[in-house]
């Protein structure tokens, strides 16, 4: 696993650096960038590569010193590699480090350059992943009373490298550039922690319930899940709780909390609870197929574990989001509601598709033999997905409907709502085209092979199910979209404000469109380059602009909110 991770990182790092370099060189006013960017690229790529080489070499030598029993028969290839990496690599690394220090002392701008932040981020995260794998190698056997000194030594090496890079990020890099490291570290910690906790719950369920009825013949349990949870918890606490949680809710922070913390957690909970409920329903009402209940429910503890952990993570991140969101409904709150509605709609739509599949199966002649694959099971699968996804979708969609009725102007003008509806149509169109093609191919093939019979319909049941579900989802949302558009001109007619608005802050096409719609004036946006500006709060900007009576207005978005200044156009 370490080799795979290392391979991916070593392969990806130069590509990421190259992309960043090309982006920088191709930016407007790139003429100001001289050969220093190219030099920095090779300097930090060299530093990164040599760091990995020396770390691998030193780890290999130290492991030989502590491993028990010691290596008697020489593995000369490994030893030669470790010696070369250490003896030859160390002076080269020292040389590049000294060169970097001299450049940083001579020109403070070196530290503010993105290349330095990218290097520290990539190297720090590489060391973090390696240290986590080694710490897992220490804790996992320790749970069962064994000690793994080789993993402990490797952890000290990689943990030390991580600590140095994390400290350098905190001391030498502007706060805005260091936040990427905190975001990715928080994500790694969260995923590891949740997978570990779900595995612990799954193991507990299997041991306490399933294996009491059917004891394992041979069991090779270890502390892997516990170790995963411990390692994940340490990383998550350091990155998220101690450093990243309190950060300003900028776009990166919201990207972490909303799609990952809230969205992915809900997906995990929906999938886990659907699988668990389906297993129970099939056992009670359906056709469970061959085997006694311990066999049937063998995978259920893992599904329950995923559902519990997903629900807990979903609840936690909703609280975090609620604490940082303003009292008024803005696009962040809307993004949350529409994301939740979209995820649960996918589950409900899948349930509708499976229901159509079950209907087609019910219309076809019964199978001569069937075990665990009956129409009843398909119906129970559809019921499961509809019962899990349907009420959840209605809960969030009802809230959206309520807000739309309360403040129709700001809701239907929101880019989040329009994006949600258009994404649904886009996905629906793609799904419709693909399913029509697949179903047509099956029908034509069946006709050429002797006629469209029961077998052909059985093959076509899944694409037809998806087609019907897509049509239902698109049909309903098309009505909603049409009614939004019908209401839009009335909303626009009620609005007024300056004839010219200059927005200065973060790039955001949505806020430009919303202000243009509100004022029906000339709206321009200039991007601030001094500090990363926080995202615009569209409602706030629209409200401020709409009540202003000056013919021309500049609105500046900063960390303290927005500031409106009357201006005169030249």
């Amino acid at each position: 696993m370490i080799g795979v991770v290392l391979g991916i990182l070593v392969t990806a790092a130069p590509v990421v650096l190259l992309v960043l370099l090309v982006r920088r060189l191709t930016r407007p006013h790139a003429g100001a960038v001289d050969g220093r960017s190219v030099r920095r690229f090779f300097q930090y790529a060299l530093l990164y590569g040599l760091l990995l080489v020396v770390a691998i070499g030193v780890t290999g030598l130290l492991v030989r010193l502590v491993e028990s029993p010691p290596t008697v028969f020489g593995d000369d290839t490994d030893l030669a590699r470790s010696l070369t990496f250490t003896v030859v690599g160390m002076p080269m690394l020292a040389g590049v480090v000294l060169w970097t220090r001299v450049l940083h002392r001579r020109d403070p701008a070196e530290r503010d350059a993105p290349g330095w932040a990218v290097y520290l981020t990539v190297a720090g995260l590489t060391a973090l992943v390696m240290a986590m794998a080694d710490l897992h190698g220490v804790v996992s056997p320790a749970v069962t009373g064994r000690w793994a000194p080789d993993a402990g030594v490797a952890f000290l090496v990689w943990g030390g490298i991580w600590a140095v890079h994390a400290a350098l990020l905190g001391r030498t890099v502007p706060a805005g550039l260091a936040r990427g490291h905190l975001a990715v570290g928080s994500l790694i910690g969260l995923v590891t922690l949740l997978v570990g906790l779900a595995s612990v719950l799954a193991d507990a369920g299997r041991v306490l319930v399933v294996e009491r009825a059917a004891p394992a013949f041979v069991s090779a349990a270890d502390g892997g899940p516990v170790a995963l949870a411990v390692v994940g918890a340490l990383v998550w606490v350091w990155y998220w709780l101690l450093h990243y949680r309190a950060g300003p809710p900028d776009l990166l922070w919201l990207t972490y909390v909303l799609p990952v913390g809230v969205g992915a957690s809900l997906v995990t909970a929906v999938v886990g609870s659907s699988l668990a409920l389906y297993a129970v329903l099939v056992w009670v009402l359906g056709d469970p197929g061959y085997g006694a209940w311990p066999r049937h429910f063998a995978g259920t503890p893992a599904a329950v574990g995923a559902a519990v952990v997903g629900l807990a993570s979903w609840w936690y991140h909703r609280q975090v989001l609620r604490a940082s969101a303003p009292a008024t409904r803005n696009d962040v709150v809307r993004l949350h509601d529409y994301l939740m509605a979209g995820i649960s709609l996918v589950a409900a739509a899948a349930g509708l598709a499976v229901l159509v599949v079950a209907a087609i199966e019910a219309l076809l002649p019964a199978a001569v033999v069937q075990r665990g694959a009956s129409v009843a099971n398909s119906l129970l699968a559809a019921t499961t997905l509809l019962v899990v996804g349907g009420p959840l979708w209605w809960m969030f969609w009802r809230r959206i409907r309520r807000e739309t009725a309360r403040a129709v102007a700001s809701e239907i003008a929101s880019p989040v709502r329009r994006t949600y509806l258009l994404v649904l149509f886009g996905v629906g169109a793609v799904a419709a085209v693909v399913t029509v093609l697949v179903a047509s191919y099956m029908a034509i093939r069946g006709a050429l092979e002797g006629g469209v019979d029961a077998r052909t319909w059985y093959e076509m049941r899944v694409p037809l199910g998806i087609l019907v579900a897509t049509a239902a989802v698109s049909g309903y949302h098309w009505r909603v979209y049409r009614e939004d558009r019908a209401a839009a001109p009335r909303v626009g007619a009620e609005r007024h404000g300056p004839r010219y608005v200059l927005l200065i802050g973060a790039p955001d096409d949505g806020v430009v469109a919303a202000v243009r719609k509100a004022t029906r004036g000339d709206v321009r946006l200039w991007v601030r380059t001094d500090d990363p500006a926080p995202p615009w709060v569209t409602d706030e900007v629209v409200a401020a602009v709409s009540i202003d009576t000056h013919p021309a207005l500049a609105v500046i978005g900063g960390a303290d909110g927005i500031q409106s200044i009357p201006i005169q156009r030249p």
Partner: protein, 143 residues
Amino acid sequence: MTRTADRVLVGIVVAVVLLGGVIAWVASRRTPEVFAPGTPEAVVQEFLGAALDRDDEKVLAMLSDESCTLEDLARAWVPESARIVLVDSTVRESSATVRIEVTEAGDLLGGGWSHEEVVGLTRDGATWLVRPSSWPYYDCGGW
């Protein structure tokens, strides 16, 4: 919001509930096709039912080749859930072939893997016996 959209939504919900009810009613009333006892189709139906139920002794009693043992049957991989439909059958003087389509399925989203198989039979007096080279045992006893 929106009376038309509400009507569409109510229509979808009512359709879903009605469809679910009709499927449940149909599913509760349908039974597998019953073939005349002693025909190759009936023998294959009984044989495959025993195979999926892991009733190895019954399977062994229905095989034509005595070299196949209970250990061979226990070693064979048999799907835990499957839907099998009859494609066609050919009956000759002393042998018969029954073509079936097997869909190994059972997941939440209704997917499945279908493959066509041929079950061979030989006549032994008044009864039909299954050749051990048939699915799901293939070359049973021939290793």
